[in-house]
């Protein structure tokens, strides 16, 4: 059993923020997904930002995992925003055939937060 890397999950305003800083091997990625969903459930968070700024390579495993997290979190009432994808990673994922349609994206953490705030405000005003 390999040493699992645990990615810290922070709470900022009423959202969760996790930033992947190191290459994640598959088992750690799976653990990360589980941790995220557990935290969303625990905190009843309405939004989660997954920051990928430090990742210069994202392969299909992690790409699909991110898509899964967004879908699963959505079922739990939380909007996931993927931020900080690098151009090299974006191009590679698209060439692999993983466009992550249906997953909200933003250039960086600030824009991601801005989006979540707007969206939360809209939802609370009844514009679901």
């Amino acid at each position: 059993m390999s040493d699992l890397i645990r990615v810290p999950i922070l709470q900022i305003e009423q959202f969760l923020v996790a930033s992947i800083q190191v290459p994640l091997h598959d088992s750690s990625a799976v653990q990360f997904r589980d941790d995220l969903l557990t935290e969303i459930h625990r905190t009843r968070a309405r939004g989660l930002i997954l920051d990928m700024t430090a990742m210069d390579v994202v392969d299909s495993f992690l790409g699909k995992l991110i898509g899964d997290v967004a879908e699963m979190a959505g079922l739990m009432g939380a909007t996931v925003v993927i931020t900080g994808l690098q151009p090299a990673v974006a191009i590679t994922l698209v060439e692999l055939g993983l466009s992550l349609e249906g997953v909200v994206t933003a250039l960086n953490l600030e824009k991601g937060m801005a989006y979540l705030r707007r969206r939360l405000a809209q939802e609370e005003a009844g514009y679901e």
């Binding site: 974006a90 698209v94 250039l107 824009k111």
Partner: protein, 302 residues
């Protein structure tokens, strides 16, 4: 079936028999050849040409190699082989020697060796006949091969030069064209002009994403008014670019599809569903501004 330009077994046997004779008289033949060459107008003056020690050393080595080659089947095959001759041609061209010089080389060899064989084998008419026939064919083959290799090498050099020029020009064009233009805070325009191949599409995508990052853009208007033909491949490149841009949080809008392009796209079954399109740049800008909650109106309102 044997090739026309090749030595027969009989030729080779005759040449093998001549080899020892030529080897014994090598120095004498070499002197005769140098005498001929010093008169050759085709050779340039200077150290590599008529007067030079360089030529002398070259010719001596050449004669040794020639005599050596005649002695065995392998020797002949190698001597009349494309790789040796190609190398020879390449070296000569690099040294600035023209085709005439190569031919003078062969001719001077022939003009020295043939009379020698005629005289030396006077008492062996059968062998003399076979040897002369073999030498005739030998020199014909050598000349033909030199000709072919010379032409091939020249063409190769021309092609290489052309490719280099094209690469340099391409670079210059790329450096001149600026991929993205920011027309409003967070709004980019990417005008595409001309034919788009894979290479250009790749560069366009990279430039687009860099532009989105640099300008923190959330909207991009891709204007293909200037693209004459949009086939499946180009459409795919555009879709890839748009998908990649979306992963950076930017929404792309496609404008400038004219009637012909629209027809082609439908005929080819290109699916642009999911991509917002507008007729032209102005319509695109209006759309984007509206999405941002902005509009354009006259300054003096009544």
């Amino acid at each position: 079936m044997a090739h026309f330009l090749s030595l027969t077994e009989k030729d080779k046997a005759a040449l093998h028999q001549c080899a020892p004779l030529l080897r014994t008289h090598l120095e004498e033949l070499y002197q005769q050849r140098m005498a001929l060459l010093s008169q050759a107008e085709e050779l340039p003056p200077g150290p590599q040409g008529r007067e030079g020690a360089l030529l002398a050393s070259f010719i001596h080595q050449a004669m040794e190699a020639f005599v050596e080659a005649l002695a065995t089947d392998d020797g002949l095959e190698n001597y009349l082989g494309r790789s040796r001759i190609q190398e020879e041609v390449r070296t000569q061209i690099k040294a600035g020697m023209g085709f005439n010089v190569l031919m003078v080389g062969i001719a001077s060899n022939q003009q020295v060796v043939v009379p020698f064989i005629v005289e030396q084998l006077a008492d062996q008419p059968a062998l003399r006949r076979d040897a002369l026939q073999a030498l005739l064919r030998f020199y014909a083959i050598e000349s033909a091969l030199f000709g072919q290799c010379y032409i091939a090498e020249k063409e190769r050099v021309i092609l290489e030069t052309q490719e280099r020029i094209i690469a340099v020009q391409k670079q210059a064009i790329q450096e001149l064209s600026s991929p993205v233009i920011q027309i409003w805070e967070g709004v980019l325009v990417l005008p595409l002009v001309g034919a788009i191949d894979s290479e250009r599409a790749r560069r366009m995508t990279e430039g687009l994403l860099t532009g989105i990052k640099d300008h923190q853009a959330e909207h991009v208007i891709i204007d293909i008014t200037g693209v004459p033909v949009v086939d499946t491949s180009i459409a795919n490149h555009l879709l890839q670019a748009i998908r990649a841009a979306r992963l950076l949080g930017a929404h792309c809008l496609l404008v400038g599809i004219n009637a012909e392009v629209a027809q082609t796209m439908v005929h080819l079954g290109i699916d642009l569903s999911g991509v917002i399109t507008r007729a032209n740049l102005q319509a695109g800008i209006e759309y984007v501004l509206a999405r941002m909650g902005l509009g354009v109106e006259p300054l003096n309102k009544r």
